[in-house]
């Protein structure tokens, strides 16, 4: 990756500080100078950084709702974790776990389907209209049906997540499998490769770049699927935490959840990126 110039870092830090400062004191400034500062950042709706940090400590069981620190050694932290069953840590764990399974099932089934249809003119001709029709449904519209069918447990979240990921990966794999250079296939065949060997050693590697192009959006989609599923009906998870905070009119709680989601999204994308750099290392030399 490219190194960042010091001035770039300077501007990035400056922007962060400016945004946080405006968020923290913007509404107070509006109160003092209503004619200059517009009424935009009402803490009732958007909270403010200090409140968010406080709420983070409460949701994370570090502090009690009354503002006392929960001790680690005296067992207060542990008791809070047990009593408050959708605490930040457990909610994050549940959401991550379901995202992971949704992503995994979506990617693997989309990949296999894309490969099969991509390499078979006959099958792709038969299934093309059905796939186009199903793909035209906004997947999120199916979430309530899925929750109805699978209940409010983990499985409905995994299925929602799967259904938004599978098409994305399917289309990319399909396009990749279609565009495999016939020259490579002929070369392999003339060196004695069987159809299965051609699939494994030529079609799959040359489709990988296409598959990876879909994985970064796929991980965000997987997370979206889980969160929407949790909005509709769940007992645990970050999405559930947002709904609970909304019900209590606590903007700070929603902001904590959103920030956690942002961090989770960045980490997951970075992991995919690392994996891609490793698996597609043969492309790097050309990219430079």
């Amino acid at each position: 990756m490219m190194g960042r110039a010091p001035t770039t870092v300077f501007w990035q830090v400056l922007i962060c500080v400016a945004v946080l400062a405006l968020w923290q004191w913007g509404f107070d400034l509006h109160g003092k100078f209503p004619s200059i500062v517009p009424d935009l950042l009402d803490p009732y709706f958007v909270s403010k950084p200090t409140e968010i940090v406080d709420q983070f400590l409460v949701l994370g069981c570090f502090k009690t709702g009354l503002g006392h620190w929960n001790g680690w050694s005296n067992g207060d932290f542990g008791r809070c974790m047990v009593k408050f069953d959708n605490n930040l840590w457990f909610a994050t764990w549940v959401t991550l776990k379901n995202t992971f399974f949704g992503f995994l099932s979506g990617v693997s089934s989309g990949f296999v389907l894309g490969l099969i249809l991509g390499r078979s003119d006959r099958l792709s001709a038969i299934f093309q209209p059905f796939i186009t029709a199903v793909n035209s449904i906004p997947r999120i519209a199916l979430a309530p049906i899925i929750v109805l069918a699978f209940g409010i447990g983990d499985s409905s979240k995994i299925v929602t997540s799967w259904i938004v990921v599978v098409f994305l990966v399917f289309y990319n794999t399909f396009a990749g499998a279609r565009s495999v250079d016939e020259g490579y296939i002929n070369a392999a065949r003339l060196l004695g490769a069987s159809e299965w060997q051609i699939t494994r050693s030529v079609v799959i590697p040359s489709t990988m770049a296409w598959v990876f192009a879909s994985l970064t959006p796929a991980i965000s989609f997987a997370l979206i699927g889980v969160i929407v599923g949790e909005f509709i009906g769940a007992e645990h998870g970050i999405g559930r935490l947002i709904i609970e905070s909304e019900a209590r009119g606590e903007a700070s709680g929603m902001m904590v959840a959103v920030i956690i989601l942002m961090i989770v999204g960045v980490i997951l994308s970075a992991l995919i990126w690392r994996l891609q750099v490793y698996l597609l290392r043969w492309q790097q030399q050309r990219a430079q």
């Binding site: 003339l190 060196l191 004695g192 040359s206 990988m208 492309q283």
Partner: protein, 268 residues
């Protein structure tokens, strides 16, 4: 027909024809082509582009299905899409797998046939030395020059020790200097292994440098126009050969015949 006719026949091509359907019209690419290739013979298929010489080669390789006639390899008819184990093919276009290192590309065929890692590494190493690719075993094809890539591609085919080598303008995309380099590499290998070679080219000097016999194709539809024996002594030196009077004589003789075909090809 020639001095080699008495030798064992490796490839028999009889009344071969191929027509393609193009926007409803039938295009005859190859028509009534017959020839024999003896064991260990180096034959060049020469002709202008569109004369069907590559089509003939691809039919022998079983990549294309003939619409007429048949092909026998060692007396056995070929089956479409079932390449014989003893046939090796070198493409004009670089078909090295970009996701495999040079060593893994060269060893690919051995890997397919289940040869163990140790033996594979040893044979790949020998090929890398033969091709002068030392130090490039673990790099990916994208960081090699065109000539080096084609040498690796040649080795990927030769490591399988094919008895019959089919080459479709393998050096067509290389510059003159690299091309002559490749001729030297190929001649050295062939003079040692004596494979049966069918070499498609539109370059007369290349055909003269390499081949025992030149089969000249006419412009569309591809038919055999004439055959020429290339009685230049072996072993040949790709550079010095061009200075000899016999080379010049053959070149002029065949050039006139070939020239007619190029003119015909250009005519509407």
């Amino acid at each position: 027909m020639s001095g080699t006719a008495a030798a064992e026949t490796r490839v028999e091509v009889r009344e071969l024809g191929k027509s393609f359907r193009l926007n409803g019209a039938v295009l005859e690419a190859v028509k009534g082509v017959s020839f024999d290739i003896a064991k260990g013979e180096f034959v060049a298929l020469l002709g202008p582009s569109g004369s069907g010489k590559s089509t003939v080669l691809n039919m022998i390789a079983t990549l294309l299905k003939p619409t007429a006639g048949h092909i026998l390899i060692d007396g056995v008819p070929t089956v479409p899409n079932k390449a014989s184990r003893q046939v090796g093919y070198v493409f004009q276009k670089d078909t090295l797998f970009p996701w495999r290192t040079i060593a893994d590309n060269i060893g690919y065929g051995l890997e397919l046939s289940g040869i163990g890692k140790a033996e594979r590494a040893q044979r790949v190493q020998a090929c890398i030395e033969q091709a002068g690719l030392q130090g490039f075993a673990d790099v990916y094809p994208s960081s090699l020059s065109g000539g080096m890539r084609q040498r690796a591609a040649l080795m990927r085919t030769l490591i399988m020790e094919p008895q019959i080598l089919l080459m479709d303008e393998p050096f067509g995309a290389l510059d003159t200097h690299t091309k002559i380099d490749m001729h030297e590499v190929l001649l050295k290998i062939w003079e040692r292994e004596k494979q049966t070679v069918l070499f498609v080219t539109h370059d007369l000097s290349e055909a003269l440098t390499l081949a025992d016999r030149i089969i000249m194709f006419s412009a569309r539809p591809g038919r055999i126009k004439e055959m020429f024996e290339v009685d230049l002594p072996r072993p040949r030196d790709a550079v010095a050969l061009r200075e000899t009077p016999r080379y010049a004589e053959l070149f002029t003789h065949i050039w006139h015949s070939l020239g007619e075909e190029f003119i015909k090809d250009r005519a509407p």
